[in-house]
């Protein structure tokens, strides 16, 4: 698989994590799985990128965390989207849409 991560802007990763968590609280492992599924197996986020990003957005209060047991009984740290996080996600999606629109227009213009 080509590595889209290399070009992944930091903000984009934040957005993907927030998007994944917008479907419900989840632990780090689950977030990676969910992003992969949601992207149609196109996107694989590595642990080394995920956790620093998770901690960073936790410090910005976009998500909160709590140790809980998962469905198979393992202890895992679950992340939940906060109100601020929801707002942030909306904003980032909007600006991403704008960027995508601009890029698309530019390409079609040639």
């Amino acid at each position: 698989m080509t590595n889209p991560k290399a070009d992944l802007l930091q903000g984009t990763l934040d957005m993907l994590i927030l998007k994944a968590l917008s479907l419900g609280p989840l632990h780090g492992y689950g977030i990676i799985q969910r992003i992969r599924r949601m992207s149609g197996e196109m996107m694989h986020v590595e642990q080394g990128a995920l956790y620093p990003a998770l901690y960073r957005i936790e410090q910005r209060k976009w998500v909160s965390s709590k140790w809980r047991h998962n469905e198979t009984g393992r202890r895992a740290k679950f992340y939940t989207l906060t109100k601020t996080g929801e707002k942030q996600l909306t904003e980032e999606e909007a600006s991403w849409d704008r960027l995508a629109l601009v890029v698309t227009r530019m390409r079609e213009a040639t």
């Binding site: 632990h27 689950g30 642990q47 410090q59 393992r74 202890r75 740290k77």
Partner: protein, 874 residues
């Protein structure tokens, strides 16, 4: 909140955070392994696959930790480490900056510790705000019979007490006889202040009446000194003035009220001494307000009482009122202004110190320009840079504060020694928690003050300029800031110098005042009179004077009940044939009872008539000598000689005025607005047992040909030779008394002068630094000018001109500020106006001269620039 906790946890329990991350990654791995197993892998394979998918676990952990742990505290520690390393790398800079700040903060802390003790700290009594002092006459005096009329009035106060300090008692029986300071009080004295004696009991009403069994409370210090703090002393008798007093209790160690007293005795025992409704002899009155009552309410109630007294005793109480003053105001009110002025001045010194350190930092920042640029280029945020620089500044100011507090500890003790009694409560000055908080606050504030401007400046670097190595760009702006700081320094220094100059002028003028007596070669000491037999006392003193006069080196000897500079007691006087002054409107005056040799011994010149002689005896007509002030006041256009003066309105005992002498200055020489009239009675015409209580201490005055203290032992021996139980105390030369009376003035003058000189030094260093830096910056320009033919004179003029321009602006600002600020010093000045042109001009010239010198050194250096080197410098 959670983030903060997280970060603190990150700091305190770094391991715990790492552990948390570890757990999370492990659980991640296990879940991955679980999923792998589900796809049919063996346990072993599943684990391995999960692990390999992770890559380098350690590096992931590190990066995760950096995000989570690298919070506020972590960064702070990093900055601190970096700051310390920088300080150590530039020891010269560090030394200068820390020393400057230590002196600035130390001086502030020392002065604040005094302000704290004198003005801020409440008296050590419960609810001190409720305690007030009552006064009828100037000096806080109340007539005792008036007080007795309302002291138990339940509608006025919760509790009241008369206090008469500065009484003295001869303590005999057991060891060396000792002169004790005593105070007379009502039985309710301690309960008014809400203080309990321990061991022992409080005074009770039954102790406080004429004819009661004499009782006494001991001060803690006296109890320690003479009775080894033995609690068994309670209930035992001690001998005071040849009379037995039963010790009933000991006052608390920290007890303090007005003058220190070794013994506290019920005033009721000697109530017959206080029969007059006038101010002499009078008492002080302390009272505690009724619960929830305000001072205004108490004052209003007191006015009603005095209206009634006026009605009942028209001859003595017409027009008389009593006034309340909060206790704190009463005792320290007069010290407030000088202290606040000192605090303000020392604050200015700190500001100048800040400006100097800021200047140093600015110059140093220019050497770090490139380093900071690189870091900004690599992505450090501006805030991050400012924070790092500020941490460095705060580090500097905190080190300065730590040293400053040490300085303050020493300084407070030093100041305390300099000024023993003149400012109330000064002995309590020490470095307590509030003072430490003040020092901490001051250091943080100074750190921000001197650090902020340079830090912002540094972070505002024009990246490309700096990295390219150009020496222009932001240098201009930094120079600008430099100059603003120097102008401020000069202005502040100017203000301080003017203040100090005015105080020095005042002091010199005070010292030039002719006090009306000659203080040199004059030995004084106090001897008490206890013997109830007046004749014996008279004989004792007669013999004593003769014996002392025979000592080699003695020119003359005299006795007196008081000394110059001791202030006003409150006898009134009336002149036969003159309209009597209204009650309460009697002019305060001073009465001296002196031996015939007093005027000669004290060096008080006779203006007219004669002074007392040995021919004035109890059997000849009573005579009096008055001073010029009394003569001018009462006899503006006539000859006072032959007129009769009395202390009672009915002239039952009158004294014929036989002479006029020079006026003698009182207090610390400055009560020029009012020169209290003085009159003298002859010691020979009054038997000592008729002297009012406070005057039973007789001053022995010895004028000498030699150094006066060299005769102390011989004089003491003569006294002991006549009566070995005679206590002698307060042995001082008149010069000492004079110098003590101007001690507060000298003290403020000295401190302010020290501050001003420190400021001057700091400001000239600042000016020097700025000009040096300017010269260094302009090396190439100057080199070019010289290469193009500029004379060294022109260069000198250019650099000095620039420095003096800054000085001039500073001086103008400083002059303006001085005009505004010296007004607050009015009460501290003597004989000079607050805008004394001579002082203003002199200070301006002095400051300009110092500034010129500070600019001249770098200017000289500029003329030595070798063009070739300078041009290659870029």
């Amino acid at each position: 909140m959670k983030i903060l906790l997280d970060r603190i946890r990150a700091l305190i329990r770094r391991d715990a955070v790492l552990h948390d991350i570890d757990d999370e990654l492990r659980s991640h791995m296990e879940m991955a392994a679980d999923d792998n197993r589900e796809t049919g892998m063996s346990d072993e394979d599943a684990d391995r696959a999960a692990r390999t998918s992770f890559g380098n676990l350690g590096s992931i952990k590190d990066r995760a930790y950096e995000v989570r742990g690298g919070g506020f505290m972590e960064t702070l520690l990093q900055d601190l480490r970096y700051g310390i390393r920088l300080l150590l790398k530039h020891p010269g800079f560090t030394l200068v900056a820390v020393a400057t700040l230590a002196i600035g903060i130390g001086a502030n802390t020392a002065i604040f510790s005094i302000v704290n003790a004198v003005l801020l700290r409440p008296f050590p009594f419960p609810q001190p705000d409720q305690i007030v002092m009552v006064s009828e006459f100037a000096g806080g005096i109340v007539s005792y019979p008036n007080f007795a009329d309302w002291k138990d009035d339940q509608n006025l106060f919760a509790s009241t007490s008369a206090v008469r300090s500065n009484e003295s008692f001869n303590f005999t029986g057991g060891g060396e006889p000792e002169r004790l300071q005593g105070r007379l009080v009502s039985a309710s004295f301690l309960s008014t202040l809400k203080v309990q004696p321990f061991p022992g009991r409080d005074l009770v009403a039954d102790d406080d009446r004429p004819g009661a069994i004499p009782t006494v409370l001991l001060s803690h210090a006296f109890w320690n000194r003479r009775f080894n703090a033995d609690p068994a002393i309670v209930g035992k008798p001690i001998m005071l003035n040849n009379q037995s007093y039963t010790v009933v209790g000991v006052l608390p160690r920290d007890f303090q009220f007005d003058l220190d007293a070794d013994v506290t005795i019920p005033i009721g025992l000697s109530a017959d001494r206080f029969k007059t409704r006038g101010g002499d002899p009078g008492v002080h009155v302390v009272a505690r307000l009724l619960p929830n009552a305000t001072e205004q309410q108490a004052q209003a109630a007191l006015n009603v009482v005095y209206a009634r007294l006026e009605h009942e005793y028209p001859s003595s109480n017409t027009g008389r009122r009593a006034y309340l003053t909060p206790m704190h105001e009463y005792f320290v009110g007069s010290a407030r202004q000088p202290l606040l002025i000192l605090l303000g001045s020392v604050g200015l010194v700190l500001l100048i110190a800040c400006a100097n350190v800021a200047n140093l930092l600015l110059v140093r920042a220019s050497t770090r320009k490139r380093e900071i640029s690189v870091r900004v280029a690599l992505g450090a945020s501006r805030w991050r840079i400012i924070r790092e620089l500020l941490t460095g500044s705060l580090l500097l100011s905190l080190i300065g504060a730590a040293l400053g507090v040490l300085l303050a500890l020493w300084g407070t003790a030093f100041i305390g020694r300099q000024l023993p009694a003149s400012i109330p409560r000064l002995a309590e000055a020490n470095v307590d928690l509030r003072v430490l908080l003040f020092a901490l606050g001051a250091s943080v504030l100074t750190g921000l003050l001197f650090g902020l401007a340079p830090a912002i400046q540094a972070s505002r670097l024009n990246l490309t300029d700096t990295l390219k190595g150009g020496n222009c760009g932001s240098a201009g702006r930094r120079q600008h800031l430099n100059r603003v700081l120097v102008v401020c320094e000069v202005a502040l220094t100017m203000t301080l110098l003017v203040g100090a100059g005015l105080l020095i002028q005042s002091f010199l003028r005070v010292m030039q005042v002719d006090p009306g007596f000659r203080s040199e070669n004059l030995l004084t000491m106090q001897v008490s009179v206890n013997n109830p037999d007046g004749n014996q006392v008279g004989l004792f003193f007669k013999q004593l004077q003769e014996n002392i006069r025979r000592l080699p080196g003695v020119k003359s000897v005299a006795l007196s009940n008081g000394l110059p500079l001791a202030g006003v007691n409150h006898p009134t006087y009336f002149i036969e044939g003159k309209p009597l002054p209204k009650n309460g409107a009697e002019p305060p005056a001073i009465r001296y009872t002196v031996s015939p040799g007093y005027f000669q011994t004290m060096g008080i010149e006779l203006v007219k008539g004669r002074v007392f002689t040995d021919q004035d005896t109890p059997t000849t007509p009573a005579v009096a000598v008055i001073d010029e002030a009394l003569a001018q006041r009462t006899f503006p256009n006539e000859d006072p000689i032959g007129k009769r003066l009395s202390q009672s309105r009915d002239f039952s005992s009158a004294y014929e005025i036989v002479g006029i002498v020079r006026h003698v200055e009182q207090d610390d020489f400055d009560q020029r607005a009012f020169r209290p009239p003085q009159f003298y009675f002859s010691f020979n015409q009054i038997s000592p047992d008729q002297l009012p209580g406070s005057t039973r201490r007789i001053n022995l005055l010895v004028r000498t040909d030699v150094e006066p203290t060299s005769l102390t032992a011989a004089v003491r021996a003569e006294i002991a030779g006549l009566n070995k139980d005679q206590a002698v105390f307060n042995v001082r030369t008149m010069d000492d008394i004079v110098s003590q009376s101007v001690a507060p003035r000298r003290f403020s003058m000295m401190l302010l002068t020290v501050f001003a000189v420190a400021a001057l030094m700091l400001a000239s260093i600042g000016l020097y630094g700025t000009m040096s830096y300017a010269v260094a910056q302009k090396t190439s320009e100057i080199g070019l000018r010289i290469a193009l033919g500029a004379q060294s004179q022109n260069v000198l003029r250019m650099v000095i001109g620039e420095g003096m321009k800054l000085t001039l602006i500073g001086v103008l600002l400083g002059l303006t500020a001085s005009f505004a600020l010296t007004r607050t010093m009015k009460s501290l000045l003597f004989g000079v106006s607050t805008t004394d042109p001579l002082t203003f001009l002199g200070i301006t010239l002095m400051l300009a001269a110092v500034a010129l010198f500070a600019c001249w050194i770098p200017a000289r250096r500029a003329t030595k620039v070798v063009p070739l080197v300078a041009l290659r410098y870029e």
